[in-house]
C-alpha cells in the first residue's frame, strides 16, 4: 500500500487521457507526415525535409528558450523584435568593421559576439524589470517588444539594413552548408534541443523552473532563489534569440522593421503545442521541438498541394494550437 520506487507506474497513472497528453504531439506529427507523403511524393525528399527543418530552426531555438521562461511561470513577448534588433545591430557592426578588419571571418565573429552580447543584455533587461522591478512579465515584454521594434526601424531609418555582400558571401555557408549533409542550422537546433532537454530534466535549474512556475511561495520556502532563477530564464531566452539570429543573418543578409514579426507568437504556440503548460509548472523541451516541426510542416504541406489555399496556413496553425490546449486540459481537480 505504500509507495515503492516511483518509476513503477507512471504510465498507468491516469489512463488514456494522460497518454494522449504525452503522445498527442507525436501523434499529430505522425499524421502530418502521413498526410504529406500521400499528397506529394517529394515530401520525404532530402531537399524538402532539410528545407522545412532549417526554416524551423530559428523559431525552434527561440522556442526552447521560451519553454524555460514559460515553465517558470513567465512570458517573453519581445523575442521577435529582439531578433530584429540583434540582426540589425550585427549587420551594422559587421559593416562598420570592414574598413578596420577587412572582409573575412574576423568581422563575422565580431558581429556574432556583438549579437550574443546584445541578446544577453536584452535578457538581463527584461529579467531585471520583471524580478527586481516586480512588474508583470506580460507588461514588461510588451513594452520591450515595442521598444525593440521601433529601435530596429530607427536603426534602419525606416528602410532595410543590408550586410555588405562580400561579407555575406563569406557568411553564407553558415546557413547553407552543413556537416554530413545536415545543414548547420539543423545541427545547432538539435544541439540546443538536446542540451535544453537535459537542462530541463536533469539539472536543479530545470527543476527549480518548474517549482517556481508551479507555486512561487513553495519555491521560496524551499530555499530556491526565485528571482535569480527567473532572471536566468530571461537571459537564456535572450542568448538563444541571438543564436537563432546568428544563423538567420546569412540567409537573408538584411534586417528591417518586418524582421521577426510574429515570431514570439509562433514560439509560444510551439511551446504550448508541445505540452508545456502556459501558466507554468511543467515544461518539456522535446515537446517544443515537436511543436515547432508541426507548425513548420503545416505550411510546407499546404505549399505542396493544390486543393487548399496556402493562405489558410494561419488558420490551420490556430486549430492545432487550440486542439493542443484542449488535450492539455487538466482532468477535473479533486
Amino acid at each position: 500500500m505504500s509507495v515503492s520506487a516511483p518509476e513503477v507506474a507512471p504510465k498507468a497513472r491516469s489512463g488514456f487521457r494522460w497518454d494522449l497528453k504525452t503522445v498527442g504531439p507525436l501523434l499529430a506529427l505522425a499524421l502530418l507526415v502521413l498526410l504529406g507523403i500521400t499528397l506529394n511524393e517529394n515530401f520525404l525528399s532530402y531537399n524538402n525535409i532539410t528545407n522545412v527543418l532549417a526554416r524551423s530552426s530559428f523559431i525552434g531555438i527561440i522556442a526552447i528558450g521560451a519553454t524555460f521562461v514559460i515553465t517558470a511561470g513567465g512570458l517573453d513577448l519581445s523575442v521577435g523584435s529582439m531578433a530584429a534588433v540583434i540582426a540589425g545591430v550585427m549587420i551594422m557592426v559587421m559593416n562598420w568593421l570592414i574598413p578596420v578588419m577587412g572582409v573575412g571571418w574576423g568581422v563575422i565573429l565580431a558581429g556574432m559576439a556583438a549579437g550574443i552580447l546584445l541578446g544577453g543584455v536584452a535578457g538581463v533587461g527584461n529579467g531585471l524589470m520583471i524580478t527586481r522591478g516586480r512588474i508583470e512579465a506580460f507588461i514588461v515584454t510588451l513594452g520591450t517588444m515595442g521598444i525593440f521594434r521601433s529601435l530596429v526601424t530607427f536603426l534602419a531609418d525606416g528602410g532595410t539594413l543590408s550586410l555588405n555582400f562580400q561579407v555575406a558571401d563569406v557568411y553564407r555557408p553558415v546557413y547553407y552548408d552543413g556537416l554530413l549533409g545536415i545543414p548547420y542550422p539543423i545541427l545547432v537546433f538539435a544541439l540546443v534541443a538536446i542540451g535544453g532537454e537535459i537542462v530541463m530534466r536533469r539539472t536543479s535549474f530545470g527543476r527549480h523552473c518548474a517549482a517556481i512556475g508551479s507555486n512561487e511561495q513553495v519555491a521560496r520556502y524551499s530555499s530556491i532563489s526565485v528571482d535569480n532563477v527567473r532572471l536566468i530564464t530571461y537571459i537564456l531566452q535572450g542568448l538563444l534569440v541571438a543564436v537563432a539570429v546568428l544563423l538567420y543573418v546569412p540567409r537573408l543578409g538584411s534586417a528591417s522593421s518586418t524582421t521577426g514579426v510574429l515570431w514570439e507568437l509562433e514560439a509560444i504556440a510551439a511551446v504550448i503545442i508541445g505540452g508545456t503548460t502556459l501558466k507554468g509548472g511543467y515544461g518539456r523541451v522535446w515537446g517544443t521541438v515537436v511543436g515547432v516541426v508541426i507548425l513548420g510542416l503545416i505550411g510546407n504541406i499546404l505549399n505542396l498541394q493544390s486543393f487548399i489555399s496556402p493562405y489558410l496556413n494561419g488558420a490551420f496553425q490556430g486549430v492545432i494550437i487550440i486542439l493542443a490546449v484542449l488535450l492539455q486540459r487538466p482532468r477535473r481537480a479533486s
Binding site: 500500500m1 505504500s2 509507495v3 515503492s4 520506487a5 516511483p6 518509476e7 513503477v8 507506474a9 507512471p10 498507468a12 497513472r13 491516469s14 489512463g15 537535459i198 530534466r201 536533469r202 539539472t203 536543479s204 527543476r207 527549480h208 518548474a210 517549482a211 508551479s214 507555486n215 511561495q217 513553495v218 519555491a219 521560496r220 520556502y221 524551499s222 530555499s223 530556491i224 532563489s225 509548472g281 511543467y282 477535473r332 481537480a333 479533486s334
Partner: protein, 513 residues
C-alpha cells in the same frame, strides 16, 4: 437514545453501498452512510482511509464508481462541481478553497451575489458578511483581501460562507485542523445552532475529543472499508482510536527526557522584532523541545519565519552555536542547519502538481547532484527512506501530491524538511490533519530527534500536544512573549492564562508597564 433517534428519523442524505476507484485504484469499498436532520455524524479514520473521498461523493464533487445516493428518500445523481449547493448540500473542503484576490465579502457571496436591479448590492453584501463574521466572533474587515488573512481566518471565512448558505446538509472536512480552541468552540456553537434548526451535519476531524463533544454518531473508516457506525455515547476516545488504527494505542506521547542541565544553547534569540512581533527573546538548548503556544495570530509563525530569514527583521540578534547570524534567505538557514516546516502545506509547503519525489528533494536537491546533474536514483532512495520513516501512504506511486490525502501530504512535508538533516527544527503545526496513529509516530520522531541531540521548536495550537511534548513552553500573546513555562507549570490552565493576557511575566512586564 441517539441510535434510536437516528433510526426513526428519516435520513436526509444517504449513501448506499458506495464504491469508488480512481483509475485502477480502489479507494472506497461498498460504504453505507447516512445523516439525519438535526444530527452531527462524524467520520473518522486514518490518513488516506477515504473520508474526504466519501464526502466528495456525498456532495457530488466526485461520482461513485458504483452504489447510489439518496436525498430526501429519492435516489439522485448529484450534479458535479459544487452545484449540489443549490440543492442544500454545502461542503467545506479540507483544503482552503478561496480566491486569494477577492475580498472577504466577495468570497462569502461568491456565486450568489446580492443584486439591486442589474447591479451588485455591494453595501448589503458587506453588511451581511460583517454580520456573519460577527456571529463567528471573527474580527476581519469584510473588505480585506483573502490573501491578507491568516490561515485560521481564511478557514473562518470558509465557514461563514458555508453557514450563510441555506444548507440542509452541511459537510465539513477537518474544519478545525487550523483553528485554536477558542475558534473551535465558536464553530461548535454555530453548528449546534444549525442542528437545532434541523440541519444535518457531517463532520470530519482527527481530534477525538471534538468528536466526543459534538457528534451523535461516528462512522469509522479504515483503508476504504466501513468498520462501524456507532452512537457516540457508547464510545471513549480510546475505543475510537483503536477502531481507527486497528490496534491498541498506548502512550500517545513518548516519555520526556529532560535535556542535560549543562546542555549548550544552540539557538539564542534576543529582542527580535519584525513588523508583527516585538522584543522576542528565548534560548533553545541542545536536546530540548521548546513549545510555542498562544492564540492564532499571536505571532508564533512570524517569529519562526524571521529566524530562518523568510521575513525581514527590524531588530534584534540571533546567535547560532555562539556565532551571530543574520539569515536573509532560507538557503542560508538551511545550510546552517536550521529548518522550518510551514503550516500552510498547500500554499507554501508542497508543489501539488508534482510527484512525491520532486517534492521531497526540492529543499535539498544539491544532495542528489552528480557531476552537475540530478541523480534520480539517489532521489528515489531518499523517497523510499522517507516513505518508510514517515509511513507515507499513496496507493499510486506516481500520483501528483495534490491527490494524496491531507495527512499524507503533511507527512511528506515533514519528510522534506527532515531531508536537510537540520540540527534545529522548527515545526509549525506538525500534526495538522494527521490521524492519531501517525501523530503518535510523529511525536516519537520528535522526541527521538531531541534525544539524539537536536533541538526542536514545536509551534502548535493543540495545547495537549504542546504540553505532552515540550520541556519548556513559550506562550505568546499579540506579538510578544507573555511567559515561559517550565516543568510542572506546564498545564492547560496556566498556558491559557498567559495566552489570554490574564497573567504576564518576565521581561515583558517591563515593557508593558
Amino acid at each position: 437514545m441517539v441510535e434510536a433517534q437516528a433510526r426513526t428519523a428519516q435520513p436526509i442524505l444517504s449513501a448506499n453501498r458506495i464504491s469508488k476507484s480512481f483509475g485502477e485504484i480502489p479507494v472506497l469499498f461498498s460504504i453505507d452512510f447516512d445523516v439525519a436532520p438535526g444530527e452531527v455524524h462524524a467520520i473518522i479514520g486514518e490518513n488516506g482511509a477515504g473520508k474526504s473521498t466519501l464526502i466528495k461523493i456525498l456532495s457530488g464533487i466526485e461520482q461513485p464508481t458504483s452504489g447510489s445516493i439518496a436525498y430526501d428518500g429519492q435516489t439522485v445523481v448529484l450534479p458535479p462541481d459544487g452545484k449540489a449547493e443549490a440543492m442544500g448540500i454545502v461542503l467545506i473542503h479540507q483544503e482552503l478553497n478561496l480566491a486569494e484576490h477577492l475580498t472577504v465579502a466577495d468570497s462569502i457571496f461568491l456565486g450568489r451575489e446580492l443584486k439591486r436591479g442589474p447591479f451588485l448590492d455591494v453595501g448589503e453584501m458587506r453588511r451581511q458578511a460583517a454580520a456573519t463574521m460577527e456571529t463567528l466572533h471573527v474580527h476581519v474587515d469584510p473588505d480585506a483581501r483573502i490573501s491578507s488573512l491568516s490561515v485560521a481566518d481564511k478557514q473562518m471565512v470558509e465557514i461563514a460562507k458555508a453557514i450563510s448558505r441555506d444548507a440542509r446538509v452541511l459537510i465539513m472536512d477537518e474544519p478545525t485542523a487550523v483553528l485554536s480552541v477558542g475558534e473551535t468552540q465558536t464553530l461548535f456553537e454555530q453548528i449546534r445552532r444549525l442542528t437545532a434548526r434541523g440541519v444535518a451535519v457531517v463532520f470530519i476531524s482527527h481530534k477525538l475529543d471534538e468528536i466526543m463533544e459534538l457528534a451523535n454518531r461516528v462512522t469509522v473508516l479504515r483503508d476504504g472499508q466501513l468498520i462501524a457506525t456507532v452512537g457516540t455515547e457508547a464510545l471513549t476516545p480510546d475505543s475510537i482510536a483503536q477502531m481507527m488504527v486497528g490496534r491498541e494505542l498506548s502512550n500517545l506521547y513518548p516519555p520526556k527526557h529532560e535535556p542535560d542541565v549543562d546542555a549548550p544553547v544552540l539557538l539564542s534569540v534576543r529582542n527580535l522584532s519584525t513588523k508583527s512581533v516585538s522584543n522576542i527573546s528565548f534560548d533553545l538548548r541542545k536536546g530540548e523541545i521548546l513549545g510555542f503556544a498562544g492564540l492564532i495570530g499571536s505571532g508564533r509563525t512570524a517569529v519562526a519565519e524571521a529566524v530562518v530569514g523568510l521575513t525581514h527583521k527590524t531588530g534584534g540578534d540571533i546567535t547560532l552555536n555562539g556565532a551571530s547570524v543574520d539569515f536573509s534567505r532560507v538557503a542560508q538557514s538551511v545550510h546552517a542547519g536550521v529548518a522550518y516546516m510551514t503550516k500552510d502545506r498547500k500554499g507554501k509547503g508542497l508543489l501539488l502538481n508534482m510527484g512525491l519525489r520532486d517534492n521531497l528533494t526540492l529543499l535539498t536537491l544539491e544532495k542528489h547532484m552528480r557531476m552537475g546533474f540530478i541523480d534520480t536514483a539517489s532521489e528515489d532512495r531518499a523517497l523510499d527512506r522517507a516513505v518508510r520513516r514517515f509511513d507515507i501512504r499513496a496507493r499510486d506511486a506516481a500520483v501528483a501530491v495534490g491527490r494524496l490525502s491531507g495527512g499524507n501530504q503533511q507527512k511528506l512535508m515533514l519528510g522534506k524538511t527532515m531531508e536537510s538533516e537540520p540540527d534545529i527544527i522548527i515545526m509549525d503545526e506538525p500534526t495538522r490533519g494527521i490521524d492519531v496513529g501517525t501523530k503518535q509516530q510523529i511525536y516519537h520522531i520528535i522526541a527521538a530527534l531531541a534525544a539524539e541531540g537536536k533541538a526542536v521548536i514545536v509551534i502548535s495550537s493543540e495545547l495537549q500536544e504542546v504540553i505532552g511534548l515540550s520541556h519548556r513552553v513559550v506562550v505568546m500573546r499579540t506579538g510578544r512573549i507573555a511567559g515561559v513555562l517550565e516543568g510542572a507549570e506546564i498545564t492547560e490552565e496556566e498556558i491559557m492564562r498567559y495566552a489570554a493576557g490574564i497573567k504576564q511575566s518576565g521581561n515583558d512586564e517591563r515593557i508593558s508597564a
